[in-house]
């Protein structure tokens, strides 16, 4: 198993966007740099990197650092160190970007005339909302005179 130098660990923290938690707390760093990172789901990661030119010399401890402190695989770690590729983690997935909004007229018609609930309407795509409006019984299945959202 390839074992990391302290410089490798520091490099990983830099590539992965960790902050210097020792400096943030205003604490003395002692023999180690201390780094932290907060994932989008609130998970708090922390690790330390010793000063000097040494390395982690125990494979079991390196595995524990990967699993418990950095929360990445060995492959992700070395990809970050060697090629500068930041890892992705399950707890750190960015939220889905919001879809495009629906036209006001379409929403108004569906909620006031078709009797649909606003929350349900807003979960629809524009195509789904138009289809729902066209399927409304009193519209006879035809497109409304003025297509909702045309304004």
């Amino acid at each position: 198993m390839r074992l990391p130098t302290y410089a490798d660990l520091k490099r990983f923290c830099e590539v992965d966007g960790w902050f210097d938690s020792g400096a943030r707390r205003g604490a003395k760093t002692g023999d180690h740099f201390r780094y932290g990172r907060v994932l989008r789901d609130g998970t708090g990661l922390r690790t330390r990197v010793s000063h000097g030119s040494g390395s982690i010399r125990d494979p079991a401890t390196f595995k524990d650092i990967l699993r418990s402190q950095l929360q990445v695989t060995e492959e992700q770690f070395w990809l970050a160190v060697d090629e500068g590729v930041a890892p992705s983690r399950p707890g750190d997935t960015p939220p889905e970007p919001p879809g495009p909004g629906l036209p006001y007229d379409l929403v108004k018609n569906l909620t006031t005339r078709s009797g649909l609930v606003l929350e349900d309407v807003l979960r629809m795509s524009k195509d789904e909302a138009v289809a729902a409006w066209q399927a409304w019984p009193t519209s006879g299945g035809a497109a409304p005179e003025e297509e909702p959202g045309s304004r």
């Binding site: 982690i56 010399r57 401890t61 524990d64």
Partner: protein
């Protein structure tokens, strides 16, 4: 049932509340529905000791060095000899406690460690902290 006092009652008669707690009678203080359990440090320490043991694991480095992993905090100490690795781990554990009390307690992956954190935080000095982590 443990007696429950309104916050204002407890504040006005705090000396008697503390006397009662130290005599072995814990108390609940209620401030608009938010309740605080008051007990003595010695009793709390004794309770935590029975439930929150530390299990440090010693490992040999390759080709040399000694590592001690502390699974309860997911931290490690390292040095050339065991006694120094113990010191290094103890330093790290005390830093962890400081960070936990300041902010990590709110993180979902750290919140469940409170029993071990409190045990160590209640240690009066470094030697007591050492016994908490490594045993007598």
């Amino acid at each position: 049932m443990v007696p429950s006092l309104k916050f204002s009652q407890a504040r006005n008669d705090f000396s008697r509340v503390v006397d009662g707690v130290l005599a072995g009678a814990p108390v609940v203080i209620d401030r608009r529905g938010q309740r605080v359990w008051v007990t003595s440090v010695d009793e709390q320490r004794e309770l935590l000791e029975g439930c929150f043991q530390f299990h440090p694991e010693v490992r040999m480095g390759q080709p040399d060095g000694v590592y001690i992993w502390l699974p309860e905090f997911a931290i490690y100490g390292e040095a050339e000899i065991l006694a120094e690795a113990e010191d290094d781990l103890l330093d790290e554990a005390l830093v962890y406690v400081e960070e936990w009390l300041a902010e990590l307690h709110a993180a979902p992956n750290h919140a469940g460690r409170r029993g071990w954190v409190w045990r160590l935080a209640m240690a009066d000095d470094r030697e007591t902290a050492r016994r908490v982590v490594f045993g007598d």
